[in-house]
C-alpha cells in the first residue's frame, strides 16, 4: 500500500469517494496528501460544492416554479 500518492491518484480517489466507500488505506493516503497540496484541496472544495448543488437542484425540482 502506497502512502504517498500523486495529485492524479488523489483526484481519482476523491471522485470515487463520491459514489463508493474508500478503503481505510485510501482514506489515509488522501488525508496525508491534502494538507500539503493546495490544488487538490481546491478540487475537493469544488466536488463538495457540486455535491451540495446537486442536492439543492433535486429539492428545487420538486417545488412549484413561479
Amino acid at each position: 500500500m502506497k502512502l504517498i500518492r500523486t495529485c492524479r491518484e488523489v483526484t481519482e480517489l476523491a471522485l470515487r469517494a463520491e459514489d463508493m466507500r474508500l478503503s481505510v488505506g485510501e482514506r489515509l493516503a488522501v488525508r496525508l496528501h491534502l494538507p500539503i497540496c493546495k490544488a487538490c484541496t481546491r478540487f475537493q472544495a469544488q466536488l463538495a460544492l457540486m455535491r451540495r448543488a446537486s442536492a439543492q437542484w433535486r429539492r428545487y425540482s420538486e417545488q412549484a416554479e413561479d
Binding site: C7, E18, D19, M20, A39, F43, L49, R52, A64
Partner: protein, 187 residues
C-alpha cells in the same frame, strides 16, 4: 377543485416533468411515456391534493418511480456514445501526476448556492453530458439510487459505473468553470 381546473394544473406542470424525464432518459418517446404514466396516476386521485405545490411534489415522486421503470424496460437500448468514451484525465495532469492547471478557487459555496441562476447553469451542464454519463449521473444524483442498485438495474459492473461517473463529474466541473465561475456570473 373541478376536473377542468385539475387538468389545467397538470397541463401547467407537464413541461417541467418532461424536462427531468428527458434529462434522465435521453429519449423523447420514453420520456413522454414516463410523464403520461405519472399524469394518469394523478388523475386517479384528483381530490388528494391541496394545491399546486403539493401536487408537484407528489408528481415528481411518482415520476421518479416511472423513470426507474422506463430504465429497466429499455436498458438494453441505452448504449454508449463516442463522447462517453472520452477521457479528460490525460489533459488535466502532467505525466508526473501533477495538475497541468491548478483548480480555480470557487469561492464561498453559500454565496453560489443562493442563486437560482446557478441552478439553471447546473441544469444546462447536466443536459450537455454525453448520453450514458448523463443517465448515470441523474440516476445517482436526481433519483438518488445507490451504486449497487444502479449496477443491478443496468447490468453493468461497478468499475464501469465508476469510470462513467468519474468522467461525468469532471465534465460537469469543466462546464461550471466555463459557464459560471469564469464567466463573471459568479459575483
Amino acid at each position: 377543485m373541478t376536473s377542468a381546473d385539475f387538468s389545467s394544473q397538470l397541463e401547467t406542470l407537464r413541461p417541467q416533468l418532461l424536462k427531468y424525464a428527458r434529462l434522465q432518459l435521453r429519449n423523447e418517446a420514453w420520456a413522454e411515456d414516463a410523464v403520461s404514466e405519472t399524469l394518469l396516476a394523478a388523475l386517479e386521485k384528483p381530490q388528494a391534493f391541496a394545491g399546486q405545490s403539493q401536487l408537484k411534489t407528489w408528481l415528481v415522486g411518482v415520476l421518479r418511480h416511472k423513470l426507474v421503470d422506463q430504465i429497466r424496460r429499455n436498458c438494453r437500448e441505452m448504449s454508449l456514445t463516442a463522447e462517453d468514451g472520452e477521457d479528460l484525465d490525460e489533459l488535466m495532469f502532467k505525466p508526473d501526476g501533477h495538475w497541468a492547471e491548478t483548480p480555480a478557487d470557487w469561492g464561498d459555496p453559500e454565496q453560489t448556492l443562493r442563486q437560482v441562476e446557478f441552478m439553471r447553469v447546473l441544469e444546462a451542464c447536466v443536459e450537455q453530458l454525453p448520453g450514458q454519463q448523463g443517465r448515470l449521473f441523474m440516476m445517482r444524483e436526481w433519483l438518488e439510487l445507490d451504486s449497487t442498485e444502479i449496477c443491478k438495474v443496468l447490468g453493468i459492473s461497478s468499475t464501469n459505473l465508476w469510470v462513467m461517473l468519474h468522467r461525468a463529474r469532471l465534465r460537469l466541473r469543466d462546464c461550471l468553470q466555463a459557464h459560471w465561475f469564469s464567466s463573471g456570473q459568479a459575483s
